[in-house]
Structure formats: structure tokens, C-alpha cells
């Protein structure tokens, strides 16, 4: 909790500075009294430097005045007073259940105090909300889900490493954390650690700075399962990759489970070392795809149920038809409808939902046009735009044309005959055939699946 003297300093500063200066430089600070020192902590170097250059003299004056007759020296440092890196906090590294610290925050309305709890065998950074039970299953994630469940039940044996890749917001983190939660459910004392790549890098840098790199190594090599999210951010970080390479080898040889996620096929990540790319492919690599309409509806119903809201089916179908690209934005649209309904005290009806996300629909509708799709597809396959409307039936042109037609069907509200007309006056049955053919190829042909997914991502973002 902030020091009493600091609270008094804040009151004084509030009378002297503009709201923006207060909110940007002063209110992010935290302070503790240590004897004759008032240790003021800035969240980062940038804030610290600005405070030091512009406000520190005044803060010292106010603190001296308020603490009379005692003398007090204001010391400005970077820190929060809240966080302790798990690795560095560990007393007994590698010991069962003793290696992770759990950051828990009391409800903000009660107190700002954030505590570092006693080490617990469950402190693994896992969000208990991400389980297989609430992971909606559909065609787009069926295989990945089944494989993940098996890993959760047989970590280190089924598929190792397990790499999940796909566009943003499709549930990679959910799938990954569900594995971790399943491992802990099956074996409560299992040492599982979930973290995103940025935190892994941060802990490694911190360990290097504090000469605790051996402790870092011991900690990560002592886990039963290591789950690292968004490994594409390792790109270009040579020292991290070097360290991770050795950790990976140690875990792999020890039969400990490694689960990774990436926003694209790892071989496509520039700046990632080849030896890591190769190792990532040793086990099982699965992609997650954008969910189909039925799955989007099921996801909306599931999420609404989680927050205790009954969603009429016409509303879930309406939202699902509008938001096609990813689950996160689907959830965002639902949250918006529910929040509006609660604030305005109106029931969630189709009309209400239409009004609530009207501008979102307008934005999406403006973005995706058939012309836009044709241009994007032509660029993607490196063919001429005119080829898409031409009579040419060679495979190198016909396949991209079919893909473009399927995308037009999925991303616009145009009818089959309208789409046909936009592709050189073709018949609606040609479009229908293209839509079916592409759906079939997405099941059987990895290349087409990748292409479609990439194009969908480009057009929907």
C-alpha cells in the first residue's frame, strides 16, 4: 500500500499539476517509506526519467515540508513493489512445488495490495477457465483438440513437442492452457508452467543480470510440462534462442512435455533459428482454423452461458454471420451487446443486437468487397487480376479463381449469381461448385488450407 507521506504528497501535487500530467507521470508512481527514505517507484525508465527531470525537486520539497521535523530523502527508482519473477523468487529451485510464485490481486475496490503468495504446487500461471470442457469443438479444431486432450492425459508421451499454429484469436492459448489444466487435473502435483514468450525472455534477461542463469536453467528443466505462447516473438533474439534451444533439448530428452504456439507455420518465421524450427517439427504440429458458422454460434452460446445471459438463437446467428474472422472478436462483439443491454436495461433482441454492433458491421462491410477479394487473391497467387474473370481454365488460374469465389461467398453477403457475374459472367452453379471444391480441398490439401487461411486473415484484418 502507498505510504501515508506519499498520499499527502499526492494531495499537494494534485493542487499544482494538470490532470494529464498527474495521470501520466505522478499517479502511476508507488512509494514506500524506509526509515528516512521515501522510495518512489516508477513503472519504467521513461516515467522515471521524466519525473526525475521535471517533478523530483518539487516532490522532495513537499516531502521535506510534510515530514518535519524528521528529515526525509526521496529516492526515485524503477519498480512496482509488486512483482517477483518466479525464477528469482524461488528458494528451492527445482523442488516439487517450490518454484513458482503466484501473483494474486485482491479486489481493487478493497485494496491495492498485491501479494506474492507462498509457493504452491498449483502456481503455474494457468488460467483455470481454459479447459477442454468449455472449448467448443468444431471442424476447424477437431483434430487439434483431440491431440491436445491426449497430451493432457499422457504428457511427454503422446506428442512431444506439440505445436499449435494459426491466426490470432482462434483459441491457440485456450487449447494450450487446457492441456496444462488437464495435466494438473490428472496429476495435481505436476509441475506445469505456462508463460508467453515475452515473459520467458524477460526472466532470462533478469536471471542473467542477477547472475542466476543456472537457477533459471534448473527451474525450467525441472518442469513436467513447459507451455510457451507466441514463440514467434523469439525471432531475432539470439541469446534467448540459444538458451531456449538447450532447455528444449533437456526437456525433450527427459521426456517432459513441451507445448508451443505460434501465429504462423514456424518455418515461415523470419529470424527464428533453423535448428529450433527443425526441433519444433519433431512432434506434432497442428493448425487451428477460423471457426465455421455453426461453431461460431456454439461459441457465442457457450460464452453467453458462462456470463449467465440467455442469447436468443437469432441473435447468436446474426452476430456469428457478421464476425467471421476470429473467436476473440466474436467474443468482443458479444460482450458489447451484453454490456449495452445491461447498461440500458433492455433485453437482448435481434433489433437490439443490430443496433449495438451497427458500426462494427458497417466497418466490416466496407472492408470486404468482391473487388478487394479479387485483388488480394491475384496478388497472393501472383496472377493478373484480369485472369480471374477470363475464360482460362488452366489449373494455375482456375484454382485461385475458385478460392476467390469461395472467399466472396464467405466474406460478403453477395448471392451466388452476383458473385458469378463478378467473375467474367459465370453461372451461379460454377460458383457453387467452386465453394464446394474449396471446402473439400481445405480438408484434404494442406497447401490450399494454408492459402485460404492466409487470405482470410489478410481480408478480415
Amino acid at each position: 500500500m502507498n505510504d501515508v507521506l506519499w498520499a499527502q504528497c499526492l494531495s499537494k501535487l494534485e493542487a499544482e499539476l494538470s490532470e494529464q500530467n498527474l495521470n501520466t507521470w505522478i499517479r502511476p508512481l508507488h512509494a514506500v517509506r524506509e526509515g528516512s527514505r521515501l522510495k518512489v517507484m516508477a513503472p519504467n525508465r521513461f516515467v522515471r526519467d521524466m519525473v526525475r527531470n521535471n517533478f523530483l525537486v518539487r516532490i522532495q520539497e513537499i516531502a521535506s515540508l510534510l515530514s518535519r521535523p524528521d528529515a526525509v530523502t526521496v529516492e526515485l527508482v524503477i519498480g512496482s513493489g509488486l512483482q517477483v519473477a518466479p525464477v528469482l523468487a524461488a528458494e528451492s529451485v527445482g523442488s516439487r512445488g517450490g518454484a513458482t510464485a503466484n501473483l494474486s490481486r485482491q479486489p481493487p475496490e478493497k485494496s491495492e495490495v498485491v501479494t506474492v503468495s507462498a509457493p504452491s504446487s498449483h502456481a503455474s500461471n494457468l488460467d483455470p477457465e481454459f479447459t477442454f470442457d468449455n472449448l467448443v469443438e468444431g471442424k476447424s479444431n477437431q483434430f487439434g483438440r483431440a491431440a491436445a486432450l491426449r497430451i493432457g492425459q499422457e504428457p511427454g508421451r503422446a506428442y512431444n513437442p506439440f505445436l499449435i499454429y494459426g491466426s490470432s484469436g482462434l483459441g491457440k492459448t485456450h487449447l494450450m492452457q487446457a492441456i496444462g489444466n488437464e495435466i494438473v487435473r490428472q496429476k495435481p502435483d505436476a509441475r506445469v508452467m505456462y508463460l508467453n514468450s515475452e515473459r520467458y525472455v524477460g526472466e532470462m534477461v533478469s536471471a542473467l543480470q542477477h547472475s542466476k542463469i543456472n537457477r533459471f536453467k534448473q527451474f525450467y528443466r525441472g518442469l513436467d510440462a513447459l507451455l510457451i505462447d507466441d514463440v514467434q516473438f523469439f525471432a531475432g533474439k539470439d541469446q534467448t534462442q540459444e538458451e531456449f534451444f538447450h532447455n528444449f533439448n533437456a526437456l525433450f530428452e527427459g521426456g517432459q512435455q513441451i507445448v508451443l504456439t505460434c501465429d504462423r507455420y514456424p518455418k515461415e518465421v523470419k529470424g527464428l533459428e533453423d535448428r529450433l524450427k527443425t526441433r519444433f517439427g519433431w512432434g506434432l504440429t497442428v493448425s487451428v482454423e477460423p471457426p465455421e458458422l455453426e461453431m461460431r454460434v456454439a461459441i457465442l452460446n457457450s460464452k453467453a452461458e458462462q456470463v449467465g445471459v440467455e442469447l436468443p438463437s437469432e441473435v447468436s446467428f446474426f452476430i456469428a454471420k457478421q464476425i467471421r474472422s476470429n473467436v476473440r472478436e466474436l467474443e468482443g462483439a458479444l460482450r458489447r451487446v451484453i454490456a449495452n443491454s445491461q447498461l440500458m436495461g433492455e433485453p437482448v433482441t435481434l433489433d437490439f443486437a443490430k443496433r449495438a454492433i451497427a458500426d462494427l458491421v458497417a466497418v466490416q462491410a466496407r472492408v470486404v468487397t468482391i473487388e478487394n477479394i479479387q485483388k488480394t487473391v491475384a496478388e497472393y497467387y501472383n496472377i493478373r487480376l484480369a485472369d480471374l474473370s477470363a475464360k482460362t481454365r488452366s489449373r494455375s488460374i482456375a484454382r485461385p479463381r475458385q478460392v476467390a469465389m469461395a472467399l466472396a461467398k464467405e466474406l460478403t453477403t453477395r448471392s451466388l449469381p452476383e458473385i458469378g457475374r463478378s467473375f467474367g459472367g459465370r453461372d451461379h452453379t460454377t460458383v457453387l461448385h467452386a465453394v464446394r471444391k474449396v471446402a473439400e480441398l481445405r480438408e484434404s490439401d494442406t497447401g490450399i488450407r494454408e492459402d485460404y487461411s492466409n487470405l482470410l486473415r489478410t481480408l478480415s484484418s
Binding site: E16, S18, T24, P43, L82, V114, L343, L360
Partner: protein, 244 residues
């Protein structure tokens, strides 16, 4: 642009007579169905921790009141004794500016349209840390997420993760009423003629109008003059206040 040696922007003294930037002083007399009132109510509930959301995204053109709502949210959280951080978009581009903010209870990032591509990954990581630490996030920009032209799809989906609100600037009679209230809150009397003159000169930009009202307040006090159109014009010309 390194600004380490520059003074921070807007290092101004708080004016005693200016009303506090709060939800009560946000102008939204239009009906409950309007975006302005809904956004204001949502952000107020969010700041109080009464809305079960981790983040909100607010967009609307310059002068529509976004910064007012963000500042009001900061005030509300501060009054509860909690820490806040308000980061304008251009400052978010500074090295390390988005680090460590998860120690606050509320983080507001304004003018996201000014975020450089090079800072997108930093914001992405900042969002991840804040959400993991239960730090509430409030974003504002002059356009929808889809129009920010972000290079990092992961950031775009994260910005759209929570409810999004769009606010329109005040228009017509609303803006005249809002301006009248700005004068009233400073215990100043302004005739309809003066109000109309200002509204013609500063259409739709409430921020510029508020700054002018503050200047008029000071000038009228120091020169002991009533607010007439010639006097207002004189203040505007002297101060070089930007109108249209």
C-alpha cells in the same frame, strides 16, 4: 523522437475555476440510445469496477470527448485510492513507456492512431501483462480498430476483445447547450449572441471551446469585463486561439 530533455507536454497549473473533468461534466443530453451517454455510463461503471469487463475501446473524431472520459475514469479510480496510468499515443512510442504498467489498477492509452508500427508489439505485450494481472485497460482512438492500419493482427484482435463504443461529437443545439453549461460551471454569464459567435467559430470541437472558455474566464476576471462579442473577439485575437 527522444524527448528526455524536453519538458512534458501541457505542464500547466490547474485552474481553480475550471470544473473537474468528471463523468458529471461530460455533455450528453441526448437520449439513452445515443452513443455518448452509453459510452459515458459504460466507462463510469468500468472505472468503478462494476462492469465485468477487462477492457473497453472508445473511438470518435477529435473533440468528441474521448480524452474527457478517459480523464474522468482516471479520476474515479484515483478517488478510490488506486493507481492509474494515462499514456497518450505519442508517448506510447517512447522506449519502455509501456513497461510495468500492470502494477496499476487502470491503464488508459489515448490517441492510439498515433502508435507507430514499431510499438505495436510493445502494446501487445503490455495488454497481455495487464490482462494477466487483472489491470483494467481503456483504449481510445479517432477511428475503429480496423481502420488503425495495424501490422500486427494479434494486437488488432486484442483491441477488439472487449466492448467497443463509438461516440459522435455534439452537434447543433447540443453544442450550444454544452457551451452554456461550461460558462455556468465557471459562474460566468454569456449571452446567446456570444454563444452563437463561439459555436460558429469552433464548430464541433468541444476541447477548443473549453480552452477558450478558460481563457475568457481568466480575461474577464483580470480585466473586470463582461462577456460581449467584441470582448470575446479581442481575447481570441490576442491569444491567437485557433478557430475555424
Amino acid at each position: 523522437m527522444p524527448i528526455d530533455n524536453d519538458p512534458p507536454a501541457q505542464l500547466t497549473l490547474a485552474l481553480d475555476t475550471a470544473p473537474a473533468t468528471s463523468f458529471d461534466t461530460f455533455h450528453c443530453d441526448d437520449g439513452l440510445n445515443s452513443g455518448r451517454l452509453l459510452a459515458s455510463r459504460s466507462i463510469e461503471s468500468f472505472a468503478r469496477g462494476e462492469l465485468d469487463e477487462k477492457q473497453l475501446y472508445l473511438w470518435g473524431e477529435a473533440g468528441s470527448g474521448k480524452s474527457h472520459l478517459l480523464t474522468a475514469a482516471c479520476r474515479s479510480v484515483t478517488e478510490a485510492g488506486l493507481r492509474v496510468a494515462y499514456v497518450p499515443g505519442e508517448l506510447a512510442n517512447q522506449p519502455s513507456a509501456l513497461e510495468g504498467l500492470e502494477a496499476c489498477s487502470l491503464v488508459c492509452i489515448d490517441d492510439l492512431q498515433r502508435l507507430d508500427h514499431g510499438s505495436e508489439a510493445d502494446l501487445f505485450h503490455c495488454i497481455n501483462r495487464c490482462r494477466a494481472a487483472d489491470t483494467r485497460l481503456l483504449f481510445a482512438a479517432d477511428r475503429a480498430v480496423e481502420r488503425l492500419g495495424l501490422m500486427l493482427p494479434d494486437l488488432a484482435t486484442r483491441l477488439n476483445w472487449g466492448p467497443v463504443f463509438h461516440i459522435e461529437p455534439l452537434a447543433g443545439v447540443e453544442i450550444l447547450d454544452a457551451l452554456r453549461r461550461e460558462f455556468e460551471q465557471r459562474s460566468l454569464l454569456a449571452s446567446d449572441e456570444v454563444l452563437s459567435w463561439i459555436v460558429r467559430r469552433f464548430p464541433r470541437d468541444m476541447r477548443a471551446m473549453k480552452e477558450l472558455v478558460d481563457q475568457l474566464d481568466q480575461a474577464s476576471l483580470s480585466e473586470q469585463r463582461r462577456l460581449t462579442v467584441p470582448f470575446v473577439r479581442q481575447v481570441v485575437d490576442t491569444a491567437g486561439t485557433e478557430g475555424v
